[in-house]
């Protein structure tokens, strides 16, 4: 069978356009059969004719052909005796005229996609659901004939031979296998126009799309009660099973995909133009983005679903509510206003399902690195103790240790060993993260075991001084590290250690955590975070130094992000003012989205001092100025803006 002709992407799937094409097909070389005579009661249609008339004409032609083939009883008993099998062009016209434009577009990508769309009842003809398929073929005598084939036979005798993947796909979408299939499918939302274009094309060319849309249509039909009333109860039961296998976000995703397959703009609009707050209210986005804001708005430390919805309704109307969220140790404030924040979040793709408290970070390189690493690895956040910036420290420490850079981790907990009569020090970081042995909690416990004969199972717990109540019995025994929240960071922490209600003051923290984010000299290049990320962790990275390269980067890379270091005075000039000549405060940042409006481009940016849930929109001019000014200051004059694929 010949493949369907390539259709242009615009307009063609309007009904009138499709009908015109159908008519053109009648008169093209594809029309191998003798054209049926025009019924005398209908005027011969010209190029401009009403849609109703076109459909009427097509219906009459279809019925005539249908009657003829059935009356003649023309079938094919042995498909091996025929060749040059093609779908009847008039039949194709009928499909184009009566099917949803999106499914016609899906069907036209290639032959097997056409068959898949047919199998899954996504196409229609003049009769409605497709039961028989009209084909033309060359018989033994090389004469062209026509026949009507029952759909099931067509699938078994033609489709399974010409498209070997189809039986596998049918199996994948059996109810018993559907969970596995869904798990293996990527339902990620695009974070920009170019990314959305790529995602849309991927779905159009994806062999599973017709099967997913079948699931969507099945659920939709069962919900609305349409179709055969006799088996409605059964269909609703199956639809309920299918619905349970998809979460809310996936169901909405398929709704949007299958309803807008024919219109890329509408498909993308759902991601890019719908308010981010509405997506949170509908359960399509994580509520973490609104939690801190809503705690402030509702004046309550905890929120139930109703309060969240009420808060979101207010956020959509009152633009200033997002600027000063509640919560301990949030990032740079004020955050953007609600409308700007929603726009930024719609175009953002950086993982942000946890809090990392940038205001308790005194080493913003660690905050930025942890964001990159957690975004790449997608690993679950491990249980932690202490300030929430411990997550960043723990993740970055593990990364450095993995690539043998823990020797350059300077922060140590030291004590005087009376037996060895010298000072012993252990590498550490403030707080505890998972079971990392260098957590301060574990190091203190180890020192207590060595010096105070503490039990091998002793565990030290970090307690915020505002939560600590010395009168409580629980604090009379065990090991506690009481820290002052406003003076406890990654590298230094004002705290006291209590063991069995006695103060332990012989453990000292020495040095601070210092890192090269980008290499600051040639000799130690190998120990910089960027070097380890690209060379050891094997993350593809490339330098981006102009707007065109960044635009190309976001077009080609669906989940790529850009990271860099720039002068804070250029990146966030209203927050950080220049007071002296050559003042430049290095500030790491991440760009994870781009918005272009006319000829203006802004980037969705999180500096290392911004909250993960509150990205800003920063223009290319400011980003470029920041990186360029920093380049001037950098010991190696490096250009510090890199894209990571």
């Amino acid at each position: 069978m010949k493949t369907l002709p390539l259709f242009s992407l615009n307009r063609l799937y309007n009904y009138s356009g499709a009908a015109l094409l159908g008519l053109c097909l009648c008169f093209s070389l594809f029309a191998q059969t003798t054209p049926l005579p025009t019924p005398p009661s209908v005027d011969y249609p010209g190029m401009i004719e009403s849609l109703e008339k076109l459909i009427q004409l097509d219906n009459k032609k279809f019925q005539k052909k249908n009657d003829e083939l059935i009356k003649n009883g023309t079938t094919i008993n042995d498909f091996s005796t025929v060749s040059s099998l093609e779908i009847d062009p008039d039949y194709l016209n009928s499909i184009i005229l009566h099917s949803k434009p999106g499914y016609v577009k899906l069907a036209s990508t290639n032959k097997c996609r056409f068959y898949d769309t047919l199998i899954n009842d996504l196409l229609r003809n003049a009769d409605g659901d497709i039961r028989n398929i009209f084909i033309t073929f060359l018989n033994k005598n090389k004469e062209r004939g026509s026949a009507s084939v029952v759909k099931k036979e067509f699938i078994n005798k033609v489709v399974s031979l010409e498209c070997p993947e189809t039986p596998k796909l049918i199996d994948e979408f059996q109810v018993k296998n559907l969970d596995k299939t869904i798990k293996a499918t990527n339902f990620d939302s695009p974070a920009g126009k170019d990314q959305c274009h790529n995602v849309y094309l991927d779905w159009l060319n994806n062999s599973r799309t017709p099967y997913y849309c079948k699931v969507h249509e099945f659920i939709k039909e069962a919900r609305s009660g349409s179709g055969d009333a006799k088996d409605l109860v059964q269909r609703r039961a199956i639809a309920a099973i299918l619905e349970k296998k998809l979460d809310v976000q996936q169901r909405d995703y398929l709704d949007n995909l299958c309803e807008n397959l024919g219109d890329e703009e509408k498909f993308c609009e759902d991601f890019l133009n719908v308010s981010f707050w509405s997506k949170i209210a509908a359960g399509r986005e994580n509520k973490i983005y609104a939690e801190d804001i809503c705690r402030r708005v509702m004046g309550s430390p905890t929120l139930n679903a109703i309060q969240l919805k009420q808060c979101i309704a207010r956020i959509k109307k009152e633009n200033d509510l997002c600027m000063y969220p509640a919560g301990r140790s949030q990032g740079l404030v004020p955050a953007p206003q609600c409308d700007t924040l929603a726009t930024a979040l719609n175009f953002s793709s950086l993982r942000a399902d946890y809090r990392d408290c940038p205001s308790t970070s005194d080493q913003q390189a660690i905050t930025n690195m942890a964001r990159l690493l957690l975004n790449i690895s997608k690993e679950a956040i491990q249980p932690y103790n202490g300030s929430c910036s411990t997550i960043s420290t723990g993740v970055t420490y593990q990364f450095n240790k993995r690539f043998n850079n823990d020797e350059n981790w300077n922060l140590e907990a030291c004590y005087m060993d009376p037996l060895a009569e010298k000072e012993l020090c252990y590498k550490t970081f403030i707080g505890s993260y998972g079971t990392v042995p260098e957590s301060y909690n574990m190091v203190v416990a180890k020192i207590l075991q060595n010096t105070r004969g503490a039990d091998a199972n002793v565990k030290c717990e970090m307690i915020d001084s505002e939560d600590y109540n010395p009168l409580l019995l629980q604090y009379k025994s065990g090991c506690y590290i009481i820290y002052e929240r406003t003076k406890c960071f990654m590298s230094q922490c004002k705290h006291k250690i209590l063991y069995n209600d006695r103060s332990i003051d012989f453990i000292k923290l020495k040095n601070r955590i210092t890192l090269d984010y980008f290499p600051s000299n040639i000799v130690n290049e190998r120990y910089s975070q960027q070097y380890m990320l690209v060379n050891d962790y094997r993350q593809k990275g490339r330098s981006l130094n102009n707007m065109s390269s960044i635009i190309t980067f976001f077009k080609k890379s669906k989940k790529g992000i850009i990271h860099g270091v720039g002068c804070a005075e250029d990146l966030l000039p209203s927050f950080f003012k220049v007071e002296a000549f050559n003042q430049c405060s290095p500030l790491p940042f991440i760009i994870d989205g781009m918005i272009r409006e006319n000829d203006k481009t802004v980037f969705v940016t999180r500096s290392a001092v911004d909250s993960l849930q509150a990205p800003r929109l920063i223009s290319w001019g400011s980003v470029y100025s920041a990186v360029k000014s920093y380049q001037r200051q950098h010991p190696l004059r490096l250009w510090t803006l890199y894209g990571l694929d």
Binding site: T514, E569, K577, F581, L617
Partner: protein, 353 residues
């Protein structure tokens, strides 16, 4: 027609290409140079600050190899502040304290003051103020008598907030503060009685106050933060022997979300104004303007569209822009190598001579 063309003249004539700042010292190592080019404080290598004048070149401050320096002056030209930034390229911390030292103008004898950020000289360079970001305290110190005062800000203040501080007299400090709702206020504090009163409280959240002083007045600018749409305002308080700061006048007001970053001179205030603002995507085009305090006329001085900062260095007003500096006021070219005659009473000469 004449009136229109005069207006266009004032708008256009200064919006021309600005000259680049040229010195005989490499720009990336320069930390301060006087208006006449006589004295230059230069970072000779990482961690080492030197003074280069007509007759001497001396490395007078040596810190750890990763340190950087900020050198700040004031309009009184008697002393300079040197802020030592430890581990500049390896400890990324916008809230870290710097070591603060003071040196006499054109000299090398250092005096340690304390640790903090945002250090400023006041009142004939006899007083210094700075902000300790960890303790959240405003420190006020007399350089000669060593007398110290401290104003504590609330513990919940954001670690990235840095108050603006000005001294009006030896017992009166004016500083900005912000509450949890983001409303900013200007507070007058008496160092002797330790009593404070609010001079000005903003009617909108999401803004910040900037303070600057010149001869006879203090300028107060209220500007929005990035990503926030708010009005902008510049007010003026006349400073005289009386410390009553009650009355201030509005010299400039706009519905635009200007960037601010003011620099005050005796007759004018330079600041960064927003000319176009696409609110939906927060795209702004910003340039430097000059507000004449007598006429309240605003003059556009640059045409760069992405100006973020202005700075004053011994009266020379510069735009730092993408690693280079463009001069708005003052001479732009101080590459002249001719030795200047020593200022006998003040300039230190090398011992050999």
């Amino acid at each position: 027609m004449v009136w229109i063309s005069l207006v266009l003249f004032s708008l256009s004539i200064f919006a021309k290409e600005l000259p680049k700042f040229l010195t005989k010292h490499p720009l990336d190592s320069l930390r301060f140079v006087s208006l006449d080019g006589r004295y230059a404080y230069v970072q000779k290598k990482q961690g080492v600050l030197g003074l280069i004048s007509s007759f001497r070149s001396e490395d007078f401050l040596s810190e750890s190899s990763q340190s950087d320096f900020l050198v700040k002056d004031s309009r009184f030209k008697r002393r300079l502040i040197i802020e030592v930034i430890p581990e500049h390229q390896r400890e990324y911390n916008l809230a870290k304290n710097h070591k603060i030292k003071v040196v006499d103008w054109g000299k090398t004898q250092l005096k340690d003051i304390g640790v903090g950020r945002g250090a400023r000289l006041h009142l004939d360079d006899e007083w210094i103020t700075f902000y300790d970001t960890i303790d959240k305290t405003i420190n006020i110190q007399n350089i000669l008598t060593q007398k110290k005062f401290m104003i504590r800000l609330p513990a919940k203040t954001s670690p990235f907030f840095q108050p603006e501080i000005e001294m009006v007299s030896s017992d009166t400090v004016v500083y900005s503060d912000v509450n949890e709702k983001g409303t900013v206020a200007l507070i007058q504090y008496n160092l002797i009685t330790q009593k404070s009163n609010i001079l000005y409280k903003s009617s909108q959240s999401g803004t910040r106050l900037e303070l600057c002083q010149a001869k006879g007045y203090m300028g107060i600018g209220e500007f929005p933060y990035d990503d926030i749409s708010r009005n902008s305002k510049i007010m003026q308080i006349q400073i005289s022997s009386s410390t009553n700061l009650a009355g201030f006048t509005t010299a400039y007001s706009s519905t635009d979300s200007d960037l601010g970053n003011m620099v005050c001179t005796d007759q004018s205030i330079y600041f960064i104004k927003t000319f176009t603002h696409l609110k939906k995507i927060n795209f702004k085009s910003t340039d430097v303007v000059k507000l004449d305090l007598k006429t309240t006329q605003v003059q556009i001085l640059s045409e760069m569209n992405t100006v973020n900062q202005i700075l004053s260095m011994d009266g020379r007003i510069l735009i730092p822009f993408r690693g280079e500096f463009f001069v708005i006021e003052g001479s732009s070219n101080i590459t002249d190598d001719k030795l200047k005659a020593p200022v006998r009473s003040t300039e230190e000469l090398p011992l050999e001579i």
